[in-house]
Symmetry: C2
């Protein structure tokens, strides 16, 4: 999940990949959002296989599955989601409810609505261990709901009573594998597993939590479709989440749902026939790509005196059958204490997202590694060159 | 706009038009939702013209229009919307902001967010003249927002201070043409013009209000795409609405947006070449269809001793260049006082929506006239036959 803001007119960004990137030494590059255009070359290679045709008389009704309480979920998409998780081994879907949303963003809010405790005198506190995804706070608080309110860092949470803890694993922004931290009886958990896919992290076991959120944007790179899904254990919670989607938008685009079903089907096929068919396994491709980017980034950071990166353990990935390291979608870059690294990077024509947005210090910054190749390379070049300029900037401003 | 609930497994409904309707004398028919499948035969006739092809590598980015604050709006859709309104003459779009939403439902909530007055001690009251669309209340209140709250019938509203009035014209459920009723300085208006199209009502002038909501569902019948749009005068309001869509779902399905652009383009072409080309004018087609249904319905009601329908004035329609009557999407059927007409109709195997959901008495009921032909005919048959049974039912239950 990302929380984009629009760019200034003069910036050249990863955000319009249909236009040819024309990067010059002067171009401002936007690495703020996790716009997953990195995977576009793969899908281009897939050619006709993923092409979908929709006629003018298709998909006209509000309804997709009359008789299911999630009446707006296309059965083809539900089946593709279940098969994909079985194939990848990253989530339990047997005897679980599958819901679709307009991105996992809408489902996150549906989950808050479903598990908050109305009727109490207090709004239910929503917490997440820092550094946490920068948009949770705003998404929780923007309507000033009487049901729930943002309460910040889960580590600092000491209020009695019901609460909701979001567990993001692998974590956005820092890629770490996480478990709940508050662990009290009155807590409800929402697991945001947007990045629990083989290109980003070893698949160590099928996740099996009460509410799990996934998204088409990060699994295959199709952010423009706005398709997310939730896998939910409890029927009452699942029904309330479906009710939220109904009240919020009377369902979810059917065009996007059917396209997602088709593309996930191609991904599954690629996984099953890996090594024998002409479809390259998408996740192996993604893993190779992310691994290459991380190698390059680590080399640059290693040569630097001022930047640091988190270390990730090597773990057995049941999907690839190999010991692998995490290759998160974002670099969580650290500088020496109190350095305003976002400002330094901006002065060097790179838009990134500073640590304070994630509930930590400004010596941290989140940088998208999902940009097109050309932009990623320019980023590395600029990062390598920054040291001296960065320090100069620091001196001037102290 | 409709507020659907899922049907029981045994009902045969308009809601799954891809399956062949197999109506028998025993079939329960669902006329509760305004599922606009009536227009499907037209789009089937359009054949290839509206067919859209999307490849696997298309539409991957979050962004559609970097540089526009409504960065998630596909420029093609914006242009098609503006051209359509110019062609139909039903709304002013020059020097206005166009926003897209996941149905007009999402935009309605975006508008509440944008025009409510945060910071005051009271939540902004949201009112609408009864009978009002049955979902406004629930959509306004379900998150118990601290910004706004539902305050019911605009005619009964007498509270001082800021308020928001929704003006639905033609009105859902009763098809009447409306203006604001509270008319105080501190009021903000949201005009829901979902049904201000030539197939439902004469186009008497281009609407020109602060916030106007339209939807793909009711204009062309493509409810499954979840595309709505807003035309907004004030930049600050438009920006806040875009922010709402960003926080609520990080934009709107691009597949649906591009399909809507394509289909609206075909509609425009049909309007421009009416009488000369091989594309039939969609609105003329729709007007003929709705007019036929209303004639048949009126004949049945005329023969009845217990049912009544609203009367609509005949007005000059600038689009068709003719004097025409309204042919609303819903029949707003009235029975004698205190009759629970919804229950009577249900006992006769017709699911409709009772008056109490719309803020009036249970002697009213809203019935969708947008069902497939076969279902509409079965509805007329049952309505004709109901009188005796209805009265029997009444007697048994009094």
């Amino acid at each position: 999940m990302v929380g984009p803001a629009y760019d200034s007119k003069n910036s050249i960004s990863a955000n319009n990949p249909t236009k040819k990137l024309l990067l010059s030494p002067d171009s401002f590059i936007n690495l703020d959002h996790g716009d997953p255009t990195i995977f576009q070359p793969y899908w281009r290679k897939m050619g006709e296989r993923c092409t979908m045709e929709i006629s003018g008389s298709d998909l006209m009704s509000y309804f997709s599955d009359v008789g299911n309480f999630c009446w707006f979920l296309e059965p083809q998409l539900r089946d593709a989601i279940k098969r994909l998780h079985r194939t990848v081994g990253n989530a339990v879907t047997e005897d679980r409810y599958v819901l679709v949303g307009t991105g996992s963003t809408q489902l996150f809010q549906a989950a808050l609505y479903a598990v908050s405790s109305p009727g109490g005198s207090d709004r239910t506190s929503v917490v997440c261990a820092a550094p946490y995804y920068s948009s949770y706070k705003e998404e929780t608080d923007f309507l000033q709901s009487g049901l729930y309110k943002w309460a910040g860092d889960a580590y600092a949470f000491d209020k009695e009573g019901p609460y909701i803890e979001i567990v993001t694993s692998p974590n956005n922004p820092d890629g770490s594998i996480r478990e709940a931290v508050v662990n009290r009886e009155e807590g409800k958990l929402i697991h945001d597993l947007a990045y629990y896919w083989p290109q980003y992290t070893p698949i160590t076991r099928p996740a099996d939590y009460d509410i799990m959120l996934f998204t088409f944007s990060k699994s295959t790179g199709h952010a423009g479709s706005r398709i997310g899904w939730a896998i939910v254990k409890d029927e009452v919670v699942a029904r309330k989440m479906a009710k939220f989607i109904e009240l919020s938008s009377i369902g979810v685009s059917k065009e996007s749902q059917l396209r997602a079903a088709k593309i996930l089907g191609v991904v599954i096929e690629g996984c099953q026939h890996f090594g024998t068919a002409d479809i390259e396994n998408f996740f192996e491709y993604g893993q190779r790509l992310m691994s290459e980017r991380w190698e390059k980034l680590k080399a640059v950071v290693k040569n630097s005196q001022i930047f640091g990166l988190p270390k990730y353990p090597i773990e057995w990935c049941s999907f690839t059958g190999k010991y692998i390291e995490s290759h998160p979608a974002f670099a969580w870059l650290k500088c020496k204490e109190d350095t305003d690294i976002e400002t330094i990077l901006r002065a060097n024509k790179m838009q990134t997202r500073g640590g304070e947005r994630f509930g930590v210090g400004r010596e941290y910054v989140r940088i998208s590694l999902l940009s097109p190749e050309e932009m990623f390379n320019l980023f590395l070049e600029r990062l390598s060159a920054i040291e001296e300029k960065g320090i100069t900037y620091e001196k001037n401003h102290k």
